[in-house]
């Protein structure tokens, strides 16, 4: 079991003829992802890594029956690509592109309202279901099969946390990088809802950072809806000065809101342990699992 993505998911790569997209198409195929089509307008008929290229998402869907896509197009075209995937009726669009204008994303969200497509990103590393498939740029070799789910706003912290879990012998189900932009698709609560219903996922790591109140909202949701699945938190940016954008567009303390201290407090208040520093994510999870009597079950590798 897993969430969102598995080895049978048929995937389109939007912008497949770009250099980065080509590199990662190869990586995704090697990991086992069922990539059935690529899309770049004007490049229909070409073949990239054995994958046929189409002019439009609609053509690709009609020819292959694909239900998901991963977007690797430049920022100024990213919103359009997401909406094209939505219009074609895909279940899932994952947008890796960084620096998408915020108002483009507000339009995208308005366009997607009431439609069935799930968006992950933009500005995210993507999603990986261990030993089955991955969409995006997450390095696959870090992961071992098991029972811990990973949700993160940051790419490298997704890898760091997953690596620490594997080192500690705690395999994973699915890792979701939800991205570092202020306006995005899937947020913590959306991902938590899916993990809640996945029986294979026994515990979760949730990695947040400064900016916004998504972590606070998630803490409240967990307390009310998922009391029996242990969650370990980590929040980056304790030392971040207010008003400064710390790399991610969404990582900014504005108007006194979105500080790491507030988030840690909100998580602790509902009984969620927060790793004291980034090197202690794995050991914190070990401790929490032992306390919950789930360690033996989760010690899979």
């Amino acid at each position: 079991m897993s969430i969102i993505l598995n080895k049978d998911t048929k995937v389109i790569v939007q912008g497949i003829t770009g250099k980065t997209a080509m590199f990662h198409t190869k990586q995704m195929l090697e990991y086992g992802t069922k990539i059935v089509a690529g899309v770049t307008p004007g490049k229909a008929g070409q073949v990239v890594e054995g994958v046929p290229v189409f002019n439009t998402v609609q053509d690709a869907v009609e020819a292959t029956g694909a239900t998901a896509s991963v977007v690797f197009v430049p920022p100024r075209f990213a919103a359009d690509s997401i909406m094209e995937g939505t219009e074609a009726g895909l279940d899932l669009v994952v947008c890796i592109t960084e620096h998408v204008p915020v108002q483009d994303m507000i339009k995208v969200r308005a366009y997607m309202e009431g439609k069935k497509t799930r968006l992950i990103g933009p500005n995210c590393p993507g999603i990986l279901t261990v030993d089955e498939a991955k969409l995006g740029i997450i390095p696959g070799y870090i992961y071992k099969k098991g029972h811990v789910g990973v949700i993160s706003r940051s790419g490298t912290l997704t890898y760091e946390a997953s690596f620490q879990l594997s080192q500690a012998g705690l395999g994973q189900t699915t890792a979701v990088g939800i991205g570092g932009d202020p306006v995005k698709g899937t947020d913590f609560i959306d991902a938590l809802k899916l993990f809640k219903d996945d029986d294979d996922t026994k515990a979760l790591i949730m990695i947040g950072e400064i900016g916004g109140t998504a972590e606070e909202d998630a803490a409240k949701w967990i307390a009310e809806n998922m009391p029996n699945k242990p969650v370990v938190g980590f929040i980056a940016g304790v030392q971040a000065p207010p008003g400064k954008r710390m790399g991610h567009a969404g990582a900014i303390i504005a108007g006194g809101k979105g500080t790491a201290a507030d988030k840690i407090k909100a998580l602790n208040a509902v009984g969620i342990e927060v790793a004291e520093n980034v090197a202690q994510i794995g050991e914190t999870m070990v401790r929490v699992l032992k306390k919950a009597g789930l360690y033996d079950q989760c010690h899979t590798c």
């Binding site: 204008p101 108002q103 950072e209 971040a240 567009a249």
Partner: protein, 400 residues
């Protein structure tokens, strides 16, 4: 991106928004000339810095004659203003806005922002103008009015009218107030703003509705479609190292301390700053070298960290994803060479602790152990590495 108040007002004026007549001035002479041109009974001399709280810090002066304008301009130009937003070091005033005085009857607050939790543009209004809005929100939240806007149809006139009524504008100016709101929304969307804040929006004794102050921030990711806005950047407002890093495609924020760090990925970079502090260090910076590094870029990152002698030690914390550890290792070697050539020394002058993990980690470690670089120490773990660099910097401080 931030711009100055006078620039914000010029942008708003181009959208038909009422702002007081005024002109920027870079010298005392220009200030007097501008005031003469305004020919106003009362002239306001406003320091232009990228920070709020200027009034309280003495950066806004009311002049009743050209002589007074001259005096205030001389006083303010070159002065370092310390406000609650500048930090203790303050900001030096290099420009003034010379503006006609307004006959204020009442002050209001109005702003537009992109709201992350609803993914909508929101208009925020309050009849408590001229105060810090965070303070109003904390003390009397019922006085904060919000209108969420559907971007596919834009701000609707009824929403603007409703906001004007809820903000308690008097009947005579309701139409004027809602008209200003609609124009401000056009500016917000038209220029890809991340924030438009008018504080105060005023009603004058003559029943005009004008933007007495204006603060516009822009979405950096959308500047490619607004070259006119990109040109308004005032580089003197930015930290020199931050500017240098941005030009090189590096994400750098100066934090003022002496333990530097170089990291890949924004999240890990923030977490690295935190772990240095956790072990008692004083972080010098946040530095994300990004996903596609070259040895040359790594070398530049080292130059930036070492510039001006700020850093007494460097922690390199890499989790190779797209970035390969061997490229980082080569970059460290290259940095040592470049620094040696430029300074005529034998390499990097401060201790460097390197933690490598992820893609090609064995190769990266081999490069640095086979050909050791002066002052570079390998750390087997992140935790150990952070503790080591903090210890080495403390030792260096003790030895003077």
């Amino acid at each position: 991106m931030n711009i100055h108040e006078y620039q914000s007002k010029q942008v708003l004026k181009s959208f038909g928004v009422n702002v007081p007549n005024g002109k920027p001035a870079f010298t005392v002479e220009e200030a007097v000339e501008a005031a003469r041109g305004l020919n106003s009974k009362v002239t306001v001399v406003k320091a232009q810095i990228h920070a709020g709280g200027r009034g309280k810090a003495g950066g806004v002066k009311i002049a009743k004659s050209l002589d007074e304008v001259k005096g205030y301009a001389a006083e303010l130009l070159g002065k370092v203003l310390v406000t609650h937003q500048t930090g203790p070091e303050g900001k030096k005033v290099g420009r003034l806005l010379i503006e006609e005085g307004s006959n204020i009857a009442k002050e209001y607050y109005l702003s537009f922002v992109n709201d992350r939790s609803t993914a909508k543009v929101v208009m925020i209004g309050s009849e408590e103008g001229g105060m810090e809005i965070e303070k109003v929100a904390a003390e009397s939240p019922e006085k904060i009015i919000k209108e969420y806007i559907d971007i596919s149809v834009g701000l609707l006139p009824f929403q603007a009218t409703r906001m004007a009524y809820k903000m308690n504008f008097k009947p005579e100016v309701i139409r004027k107030a809602s008209a200003v709101m609609l124009k401000l929304y056009d500016a917000f969307i038209g220029k890809d703003c991340s924030q438009v804040e008018i504080n105060p929006l005023v009603v004058t004794a003559e029943d005009d509705v004008i933007c007495l102050d204006a603060k516009l921030n822009f979405d950096d990711s959308a500047l490619f479609r607004h070259p006119d806005i990109a040109e308004l950047r005032d580089e003197t407002e930015e930290d020199a190292k931050e500017r240098w890093a941005a030009e090189e495609g590096l994400n750098y924020v100066n934090l003022g301390g002496d333990v530097a760090c170089m990291v890949n990925g924004a999240g890990l970079a923030m977490a690295t700053v935190d772990i240095l502090k956790y072990y008692g260090g004083d972080p010098a910076n946040f530095l994300d070298v990004g996903g596609s590094s070259t040895p040359e870029k790594i070398a530049t990152a080292f130059e930036i960290m070492l510039d001006g002698g700020q850093s007494k030690g460097i922690f390199v914390n890499i989790f190779g994803g797209i970035n390969r550890c061997d490229v980082i290792a080569e970059g460290i070697q290259k940095a040592a060479q470049i620094i040696a050539e430029k300074t005529g020394s034998d390499g990097i002058p401060v201790p460097v602790v390197v933690r490598l993990e992820g893609t090609n980690v064995e190769l990266g470690r081999k490069i640095l152990t086979d050909n050791p670089v002066k002052n570079v120490i390998m750390a087997p773990t992140m935790e150990g590495g952070a503790q080591t660099i903090v210890g080495l910097v403390k030792e260096a401080e003790k030895n003077g």
